[in-house]
């Protein structure tokens, strides 16, 4: 489905002087003058803490890839769409980018809701779609998608890895409280955690399940309750400004001295928190791309990414930067694989998508493989918050690396069903210390 009309043409035509057939789908694929990608990300609203760095990273990577000859000799051009206005706007923008701008691949989205709404469009419009950041397990567990691939981990490994770390680090805890944001990820991540915890360590008492309103700025009631309940462990999968606020308010009142905190999405908030992050708590980064990764697979590439991002934007990269980079490298690897398979000819949309199934692409820290269902297997590294002279904010120590395959639900199984089958002896065998 290609529309011969661009946005500007449609405007110029003043709605209707020219009528053209709306589909010219039978065209043979020709090598384009530029490889267009449409990127959906949050440019406004609370999740722009992830969206804006990812956009910067995307622009930087496009420049870098174009400077070194582009993808299969074709320069890339990225256009961005704000996810914040909601589903009906985003779905419309997705169509516009594919049908009017004629993008060759879509990169979407940060919000799970956006991904759930847009992934079916990848099948309907038959366009390669890379899910570059969203974490919901529902995408590939409830459906099969021919054109959609996720180039990073997802909710299940991102919750299971910190859980396993906790079970190794503090096996004797007896009570837990949860304080998550009241929306899908907050609920889903707690369900995943609880299922895994009940399977591997039955009998832990949940003393409080708190879901403060999404976008809360005051956690004093919750903190008072947590201080009174004295749970051994406090889990929070909150992110962004809310996590910063919660930790600052909790640290004021010494909550961190009574309970061990487990914060699977902490990394992105560490630069903001700086020295006010308490030490010795379990932190995760939705992957293995810590700024202090002790042994990246390709140190030159890793330092190159971190340093060029720092130089250009004067801030440390956070995980969305890495997720965007993974999507970009996957795109390069996949498209070049498809071009090579065609002996240098330009692949059709379907041929391009097929090249991604089973694709392994290198990241600076490791290698990610896209499984047959489209899900990427990204390693997870979890550690304890600590400070050193290299960074003005908390980074992990005593890190444990969990291979992506070990902590992801196998193809065709629902995460909650799979987590129920885990046994206590899995704790000892999972993961390996690094650094």
């Amino acid at each position: 489905m290609t529309a011969p009309f661009s946005r500007r043409d449609a405007l110029a035509a003043g709605f209707g002087a020219v009528l053209l057939p709306s589909t010219l789908s039978a065209q043979p694929a020709q090598k384009p003058a530029e490889f267009k990608i449409g990127v959906t990300t949050f440019l406004s609203g609370p999740a722009s803490v992830f969206g804006v760095p990812s956009r910067k990273a995307c622009e930087m990577l496009v420049d870098q890839i174009n400077a070194s000859g582009g993808i299969a000799g074709v320069p890339i051009r990225a256009s961005f769409v704000d996810e914040a206005p909601g589903t009906d706007h985003l779905v419309g923008e997705f169509r516009r980018l594919v049908q009017s701008e004629g993008v060759h691949a879509m990169f979407q989205s940060i919000s799970s809701g956006s991904c759930l709404a847009c992934t079916p469009l990848s099948a309907e419009l038959q366009k390669l779609t890379i899910l570059w950041d969203c974490g919901t397990q529902r995408i590939f567990e409830e459906n099969r998608w021919q054109y959609a691939f996720r180039t990073q981990g997802y909710g299940t490994p991102e919750v299971l890895a910190p859980l396993l770390y906790l079970l190794k680090h503090k096996p004797d805890f007896r009570t837990i409280a949860v304080i998550n944001q009241d929306y899908a990820w907050g609920r889903d991540s707690w369900e995943l955690w609880k299922t895994g915890m009940d399977a591997m360590k039955p009998g832990v008492r949940v003393v409080a399940e708190m879901f403060p309103r999404f976008g809360s700025t005051d956690f004093s009631t919750e903190i008072t309750r947590l201080l009174a309940l004295r749970p051994d462990v406090i889990l929070s999968t909150s992110w962004g400004g809310e996590l910063v606020t919660f930790i600052r308010q909790a640290a004021e009142r010494r909550l961190h001295e009574r309970s061990l905190m487990v914060l699977p999405v902490a990394e992105a908030s560490m630069p903001t928190l700086g020295r006010s992050m308490p030490e010795g708590h379990i932190i995760g980064t939705r992957g293995d791309h810590w700024n202090n990764h002790p042994s990246p697979a390709n140190p030159a590439l890793f330092n190159g990414l971190v340093n060029s991002y720092r130089q250009r934007f004067n801030e440390w990269p956070i995980y969305p930067v890495h997720h965007m980079a993974q999507a970009m490298w996957a795109l390069k690897a996949g498209v070049e694989k498809a071009v090579a398979a065609k002996g240098g000819g330009w692949p059709s949309d379907l041929e391009m998508a097929n090249a991604f199934r089973g694709l392994s692409f290198p990241t600076p820290t490791s290698t990610i493989t896209l499984r047959e269902d489209g899900q990427g297997l990204e390693d997870q590294i979890v550690g304890l918050s600590s400070f050193n002279d290299r960074f003005p904010f908390a980074v992990p120590k005593d890190m444990i690396q969990f291979p992506g395959e070990q902590v992801s639900a196998p193809v065709g199984q629902k995460s909650t069903d799979w987590l129920k089958t885990l046994k206590p002896d899995f704790i000892a065998s999972a993961g390996a210390r690094i650094g």
């Binding site: 529309a3 709605f15 209707g16 020219v18 009528l19 256009s79 779905v91 169509r95 759930l116 899908a184």
Partner: protein
């Protein structure tokens, strides 16, 4: 002006169809615009009575979730549209019995409260509604016909267009009937209405239920078009959007909401496409310009142009 309104409507419809034919992605945007236009006629009814509802997204979301929940069971667009309209009407009746006791800011705020209660329910009843992730709506048969995607989208666009005409016509009749004229009476002096033996609350309640039904229909079409519903549909910003469209289009005639909705969606999409970072500012600037220089909205502007030409 009333005389040429039908011609203007036909002209607008022709422009929309041409745009939808030339650019397939615009078909989607314009279907949403038509759906919002239908819902905004409801706002216009209440505006006639001088009441602004800041919570009409409630009925849009209700219609949309009706489609999302019932599509697997009664998977036919025609049946679902009817169910959404009737359901929203009943909900509007229940809520209307309370809110029509109040006027002005209290009316607006109570409506806002109701829609936010519904929003919270959609978020909190996570196991039924899937929370903020929302529910997917699959392509459904229309009047028993199973269709492929492109045909389905055309049909929904056609249904939205047809409904816009039918409902616009009916509301035009209603507004010139005694019941409709009485709405203006509520705005100017309610006690006079009562002296004339017209129950003001009854008049407002009737308009409110009608506006709820229009919202339900609009919401059902939105769900059938975007095919994914999220609680954001009933958030207060969505209600604000409806009022925004009503002001942008102007409250003078039933064509206003459609002018406003089409302009709103197109401005938003072109602003978002050209300036991904600053689309809110552009949208805000457009509204400010309309308020400052064209208090009657786009409809008022069109009316002035026509008048000028007639003289």
């Amino acid at each position: 002006m009333r005389k040429i309104e039908p011609f203007l409507a036909l002209l607008l419809a022709a422009a929309m169809i041409t745009a939808a034919v030339t650019a397939p992605w615009l078909r989607f945007v314009l279907t949403i615009a038509l759906a919002k236009g239908i819902a905004v006629i409801g706002i216009l009814l209440l505006l006639r009575a001088g009441q602004v509802s800041f919570g009409h997204a409630l009925y849009i979301a209700f219609g949309a979730y009706t489609v999302a929940f019932l599509a697997p069971r009664y998977g036919d667009a025609v049946v679902l549209l009817l169910l959404a309209a009737v359901g929203a009407g009943l909900l509007g009746l229940v809520i209307g019995l309370f809110v029509t006791r109040y006027r002005q800011i209290f009316f607006g705020m109570l409506n806002l409260a109701m829609s936010m209660v519904f929003y919270s329910l959609l978020e909190k009843l996570y196991h039924y509604t899937k929370g903020s992730d929302g529910i997917r709506v699959e392509i459904m048969p229309i009047a028993g016909q199973t269709l492929d995607r492109v045909a389905y989208e055309w049909w929904i666009f056609g249904i939205a267009m047809g409904l816009a005409f039918v409902l616009g016509f009916l509301i035009r009749l209603y507004l010139s009937s005694p019941m409709g004229e009485a709405l203006a009476g509520i705005k100017t002096r309610e006690t006079r209405l009562e002296f004339m033996g017209v129950p003001a609350r009854g008049v407002l309640l009737a308009a409110y239920v009608m506006s709820a039904m229009l919202g339900g229909i609009g919401g059902a079409i939105i769900a059938m078009t975007s095919r994914h519903v999220t609680p954001l549909l009933s958030y207060w910003t969505s209600s604000g959007e409806l009022v925004f469209i009503a002001i942008l289009g102007g409250a003078g005639g039933v064509l206003g909401p459609f002018l406003g909705a089409a302009a709103y969606e197109l401005v938003r999409i072109y602003a978002a496409a050209s300036f991904a970072d600053a689309w809110q500012m552009i949208l805000g600037a457009v509204l400010l310009l309309v308020i400052l220089f064209a208090p009657g909205g786009l409809w008022g502007m069109a009316a002035r142009v026509m008048k000028g030409r007639a003289q």
